[in-house]
Assembly symmetry: C2
Homo-oligomer: 351 residues x 2
Amino acid sequence: MTRPPLPLVRTLSHPAPSRLSRPRRHLRTFTSLPRFAGTSVRIVEVGARDGLQNEKTTVPLETKLELLSRLSKTGLRHIEAGSFVSPKWVPQMANTSAILSHLEATRDDEPERRDITYSYLVPNEKGLASFLDAGPAPGAGNEIAVFASASEGFSRSNLNCSVAESLRRFAPVVERACARGFRVRGYVSMVIACPYSDATPPAAVAAVVRQLLDMGCYEVSLGDTNGVGTPATVAKLLACLIGENAIPAEKLAAHFHDTYGQAIVNSLVALEHGIRTFDASVSGLGGCPYAAGATGNVATEDLVYFLEGTGVHTGVDLEQLAGVGEWVSKALGRRNGSRVGRALAGKKRAG
Amino acid sequence: MTRPPLPLVRTLSHPAPSRLSRPRRHLRTFTSLPRFAGTSVRIVEVGARDGLQNEKTTVPLETKLELLSRLSKTGLRHIEAGSFVSPKWVPQMANTSAILSHLEATRDDEPERRDITYSYLVPNEKGLASFLDAGPAPGAGNEIAVFASASEGFSRSNLNCSVAESLRRFAPVVERACARGFRVRGYVSMVIACPYSDATPPAAVAAVVRQLLDMGCYEVSLGDTNGVGTPATVAKLLACLIGENAIPAEKLAAHFHDTYGQAIVNSLVALEHGIRTFDASVSGLGGCPYAAGATGNVATEDLVYFLEGTGVHTGVDLEQLAGVGEWVSKALGRRNGSRVGRALAGKKRAG
């Protein structure tokens, strides 16, 4: 083959992508970056939790249930549905028990929902008790997530305790959840930098990730919570975790915020390092608590467009997902935070 | 040299970047992707032309002059200042002669402006005559740009002629401009796909680029005018141009729109292929004429954040540039289209 040494890519046509459970309509026929041909990823939709808890208004239960129902029909297979935190601290999540009960009671009504994992943030033993009280069936259909920080400053400000103390608190929660048949996902926030303590040393992230995995988490999601990461800092973090600390890439997820517009390019860097799970929020629901008016979670639509446009299979129907994003933006009276969503809606209006 | 004590990431020190004419303050100290350490790029600021011509309101001359003056103090070295098109078609550009005259008359007032190239879009011989009438000094300080399409459908819709016919029209313009001592930049639009003719074959782009270079253009800017490009399609295009057609990467510039949120990741792909010139628009001025409400040109602030965050030197003072973006957004009564701009402004408001 006579090709110039183009390190990132060479032109080749796209082989038929591997498909998830059923064929899905795609908006466009994308070609692939050859090294990602045949790659599939899992997207964790966090709009209904990480997104809504950062919206100014508290969303009525009916709207949340409608959002979850619509999301469940887009091909997404992992949807964060709520958080069992104190309603005193996070009033937006007050109706999570009702959400869980509803999703359990109606799961068999929609065939798409049988394969979906709904996950719930659980910050402590009290939260776990509320989760269990709501009646989730054990197994792949429901799971919990725990939330630690890689930064001491943020841990103290957000969880009112040191990183070590927060991990000590989680240990029995994770143990009990696992014993009851629920998988546990770990989140680590501020993996790149922190508004309170500047740059986060990758070794500090590695230590927290290792402890969460040792505790029993099946996966740890790396949160660039204030969205300051760049290709270089993300590459350095992942090299430290996967290279120096031998944490398998399959145990890691990327949770990028788009505050500085770098979430998509950072996702390419994560793909390059073997990450195959990505968190995102439909229509970019939520925002940035550290800078009023700034962008928060990367929009799922933009991420799916990127992934499919790089030859990576997501299993998500982009057109349908964009419709959900438009719907929820209108329902909440907010601007659609997805550029793909706005572009498709604009084209639709133009006919 | 004393660095500010609050770098974003200080675990790896940044290798001393090659600098443009003078040292510039940077917002943060970024680490680099090792393969780009020491790389420098040139940014072509197109907000005052490609941006403003797509804004709904016609901007008063004073505001434009103030914008150009502020941009000239950010470290940008190449600024598109206007377009000599018929005011009947593009009323937003009606005062370009006055802009050119003003910039020429005041160039020596601001030392920063001595090294800056101001460029003007010139669509035909009449436009060239107007450009020359306005009294530009030949040499590196002023240049013109011509604008072709890689797509027949867009050429017919936008220029009212075939691609071949448009190139025939440009040939004498380029020749005369060169003879008068002005460099000519070429633009090719719709290099990935087109709202009228679907996907643009890379070979068609290569043919137009080759003809513009043969005509005398020193560089051709590749416009993903509707922002549909993805890493795979951009890689395919660049492999065709640089690999198969042996067009030197130094003769090409990337002009990405962020309509589908892919401009930054596509810029990484372009960097990988050796592209070292990038077009962008401060605060994402402009928009997308093909989808109301959608994003247009990539915001210069987001591009600079990405480049510096990848270890690529831009010579641009990001904080100062973000200030210009905030100022012009307010002056035009529009939302700041740069995510970096919004994040920094939000942080500033929060103190």
